[in-house]
Amino acid sequence: MTTHETDDTLERAIQGDPDAFSDLYECYVDRIYNYIYYRTGNHFDAEDLTARVFHRALGHIQSYNNRGVPFSAWLYRIAHNLVANWYRDRGRRREIPLEDYISPPEGSEHLETVLVKNQENERLFSAIRKLPMDRQHLLVLKFVERLSNAEVAVIMRRSEGAIKSLYHRTLLSLRSELKKME
């Protein structure tokens, strides 16, 4: 969907056109699901919270203001708030199945290479889990969602410069944590 099409669809969805909302849903459901999955660590809660995001979006789309904040950022903010409530209400720690995080090995790779890579990944994720929530949030948006610093800044309600700085500090923390593990 191009930007122009999205704007047109969005305008129709705000006017209450269910087909337009359906198109927006199709366009964003995978991204929102993906984001929530990496924040909660399981498919069950990802499905539950994704459904809540779109129910809330449908219920409040008439109050969505198109100025300044892209629709995707608006959805991510809803998702972020719901995930934050999910953590607060249940007092849960992140339980992320490593095998779901780690990319499957290439068929031609030697077993030893695969094992070394998996060990590296395991160390990396142990280090990520020790980061504060906002830094984990940033990593998911950058590396899973592949968003630019400018897009992340809109979602996290910070300036682009602040995101660049946070990202740099996050990488430094990761490196320091990984060195401790060696």
Binding site: D100, Y101, L124, L178
Partner: protein, 69 residues
Amino acid sequence: MFETLSDIEQQLYSTFRQVRPDPDYVYRLRNRLLTDPGVMLEERPKMAAFAIVSLSLFFGVLLIWLFRR
């Protein structure tokens, strides 16, 4: 192994992967969004609330009067 920050970035890029929701779930959720009327909270009629409060007060006062006799 992770000597530089770009080594870590490369590792993050190669390790994280996209996950896809179950297509059945996506289909069912879309139908629910477009067909369900949603949860509606029924407003209690104001007259009924007024009657309940009035009756409670009346019986309260009546009980106090009976105990005092």
